[in-house]
């Protein structure tokens, strides 16, 4: 549960909410429509969440169901819920509402009847969720139930067959297991949230009896922070890379003064906080977060510590970029971003020095700079409170990302030793595998359309459901490519979506992950599309370039590949066409494998 500390009261959020309501939608770079369906008074969530989203440049349109009207709203196809067409639904039914009188008198019936009752309630929840998934395209955040710490049987609670607590635990487990493989439904662990806050504190009983308010106002703030963990990946603003200082950040002390034997790192009271901090960072690396070093130090001293210190958890191989020099931290971060080819706004910067942190915040406002506490004992906790690293699902490519970027560093070193670019590309032994969409790669294809900003000709974003539907359409072709070279497997990193018309094919989307830009694989992907188009008998392929603030790398793609510019409007949108009579030459140093079937 990643929940940040809130230093301002809910009243301040209400004031800010009123101000935000006066701002124009076009002021924000991201938009999100949220519906809250709840079984009790949840006033405050809309206001706080809108403000918190606004701080992230997300414009939120909010629809709340009337008090306790969630079932009616879901069951009525004509309800406002459906005409609102949300992209995120928070479905929040509380334990007391679900259990009714059984909440107070669970032992008025026997274990068999309790099981039957809970199963019925479970099915009611599934039914509501199923209707929502069928009638909307929204992601559904289903809250599990708070398991009360009270039992009418007191200390004998755990002796009961399918007891009160056990029955709710069972319901929570079943909810989790039912939706484990459903990418549209995410289970929000409200029980864990209550534990984090403290179950004795979550409800202010007076507010509850006065207004059916089951979450005390002050806890709405951290609750909304917990929701942000889902919202950030939903609008593709998650962070990808952690840039780390070394002295007093990855180890205690200063390597240049204390030497490798003198720094604090390992199983001692002084060294443990740094040791464990590194372990938590390694765990993030293992789920695909890129790590980089940004340190003002003598490179030889610092690298010696990284390579030789017996308790150094993070090794050279874990870092996608290592900047150890006497440059300022800002230019080093810019170098890292350039080297690993990711946006500055995908980065998080950890540095114990408040001056460095402030400088980076001032100069590079897109970089998230957590306030690292003076005491290293709280470093790991600070890391855990950052809810910016989430993805809505973890693809194989995500898990490998850290290693892939570390391999990229080796590739860059190799590039600088090569005689020229052609020589470099030829010696990489690039192999691409062309795949059709299938149940395994569709999540990744959707993810690429949602996250790729740089080499992306139209920057059209598609959900997994939309990709699934397109893959079944007779009028669409989706092509995905996996890229490998002698330094490793980059995974599925390129996608093209083609719309088939009677006389021509139109490139709806053409994108490459930033990690494979500059290796000419786009030419091989285009060559495949051209070959297929010729086979199908069409005469021409059209394409569109829609400029954004970030897709400059794709600007010349059509022109450089023989497409003719047909027109350009005043928004800079360019329309191109390629006459298929022309011969298209594919790079001979790339081996292309076409996987047949789905």
């Amino acid at each position: 549960m990643s929940v940040q500390k809130n230093n301002i009261s809910i009243l301040e959020f209400f004031k800010q909410y009123k101000q935000i309501c006066t701002k124009k939608k076009s002021f924000f770079s991201k938009k999100l429509k949220i519906t809250l369906l709840s079984s009790f008074t949840t006033k405050g969530i809309k206001e706080v969440l809108t403000v918190k989203c606004s701080n992230l440049n997300i414009y939120v349109e909010f629809y709340e169901c009337e008090y306790k009207q969630y079932t009616q709203e879901i069951l009525n196809p004509q309800s406002n819920l459906y005409s609102f067409d949300p992209s995120l639904i928070l479905l929040f039914i509380d334990t007391k509402t679900i259990l009714g009188e059984n909440f107070f008198f669970p032992y008025n019936s026997n274990a068999i009847n309790r099981k039957t009752f809970v199963k019925t309630k479970e099915n009611e929840i599934y039914n509501l969720v199923n209707i929502l998934t069928q009638n909307t395209s929204a992601t559904i955040l289903l809250h599990n139930l708070e398991i009360p710490s009270y039992s009418p049987l007191g200390i004998l609670e755990n002796k009961q067959e399918f007891g009160f607590a056990e029955s709710i635990e069972n319901l929570n487990n079943n909810i989790r297991n039912t939706f484990k493989k459903n990418n549209r439904v995410l289970v929000f662990d409200y029980n864990a949230f209550c534990s984090y806050i403290g179950k004795s504190k979550i409800t202010n009983e007076k507010l509850y009896y006065l207004g059916d308010i089951k979450i005390d106002f002050e806890h709405i703030l951290p609750l909304c922070d917990a929701y942000l963990a889902y919202i950030k990946p939903l609008v593709s603003i998650s962070k990808k890379c952690i840039v780390l200082d070394l002295d007093n950040t990855l180890w205690g002390g200063i390597i240049g003064e204390d030497g490798i034997e003198g720094i604090k790192l390992g199983p001692t009271p002084e060294g443990s906080p740094f040791w464990e901090f590194q372990k938590h960072l390694l765990a993030l690396f293992n789920r695909g977060i890129i790590l980089a070093v940004n340190s003002k130090n003598n490179s030889q001293d610092a690298l010696k510590a990284i390579k030789k210190h017996p308790y150094m958890v993070l090794k050279e191989k874990h870092f996608a970029s290592i900047q150890i020099n006497w440059n300022d931290k800002i230019s080093n971060i810019e170098t890292i971003a350039k080297e690993i080819n990711i946006g500055i706004d995908s980065m998080v910067f950890f540095d114990d020095d408040p001056l460095n942190r402030e400088m980076v915040r001032e100069s590079l406002p897109g970089v998230l700079v957590p306030e690292l506490p003076q005491d290293a004992s709280f470093y790991s906790k600070t890391l855990h409170q950052i809810n910016d690293f989430n993805t809505l699902q973890l693809t194989e490519e995500d898990k490998k990302r850290g290693s892939i970027y570390a391999a990229q560093r080796k590739r860059s070193e190799f590039k600088s030793s090569a005689r020229n670019l052609t020589n470099y590309l030829q010696s990489l032994n690039i192999k691409i595998t062309i795949e059709k969409p299938n149940q395994f790669n569709i999540p990744r294809i959707a993810q690429l359309t949602q996250k790729t900003n740089q080499f992306n000709v139209t920057t059209k974003r598609y959900s997994q459901l939309e990709i699934e539907n397109m893959s079944k359409s007779q009028n669409k072709i989706i092509v995905a490519i996996k890229v490998e070279d002698k330094f490793g497997d980059n995974g599925l990193t390129g996608v093209a979506i083609i719309e088939k018309n009677q006389n021509h094919w139109d490139i709806d989307s053409f994108l490459l992950s930033c990690r494979i830009i500059g290796r000419k694989v786009e030419n091989s992907l285009l060559a495949y599309i051209i070959k297929q188009a010729k086979t199908s008998g069409v005469k021409k392929i059209t394409g569109t370039f829609i400029p954004t603030q970030k897709n400059l790398p794709a600007k010349n793609f059509f022109e450089e590949n023989g497409f003719m510019l047909d027109k350009k409007n005043n928004l800079g949108i360019e329309k191109y066409s390629y006459i298929l009579e022309k011969e298209y030459f594919t790079p001979n140093f790339i081996k292309t494998i076409e996987l047949q079937g789905e």
Binding site: K206, L207, L210
Partner: protein, 79 residues
């Protein structure tokens, strides 16, 4: 009673010189939800407990002030 004034002004987004005439029935800002916010803020910031009967009886600022005064408040410096 400065602290109470500040809380009320903050909740109802009003000025101190308007408090004496602030009525639950006539103020647009004093709706049922803001009434609960008011109770919550007073209890937390002033470290007092209001009974259900007292909460129901608060019809205007004057009554609120009287109820709070009767509790011999020791204002806390921060929430």
């Amino acid at each position: 009673m400065d602290q109470l004034e500040n809380i009320v002004c903050n909740v109802f987004n009003t000025e101190k010189n308007k408090l004496e005439k602030l009525e639950r029935n006539t103020s647009m800002e004093w709706d049922s939800f803001n009434h609960l916010i008011l109770i919550s803020e007073i209890e937390k910031q002033m470290n007092i407990s209001l009974s259900m009967k007292e909460i129901e009886n608060i019809k205007n600022y004057q009554i609120l002030k009287q109820i709070v005064q009767e509790k011999n408040v020791t204002p806390t410096t921060q929430k």
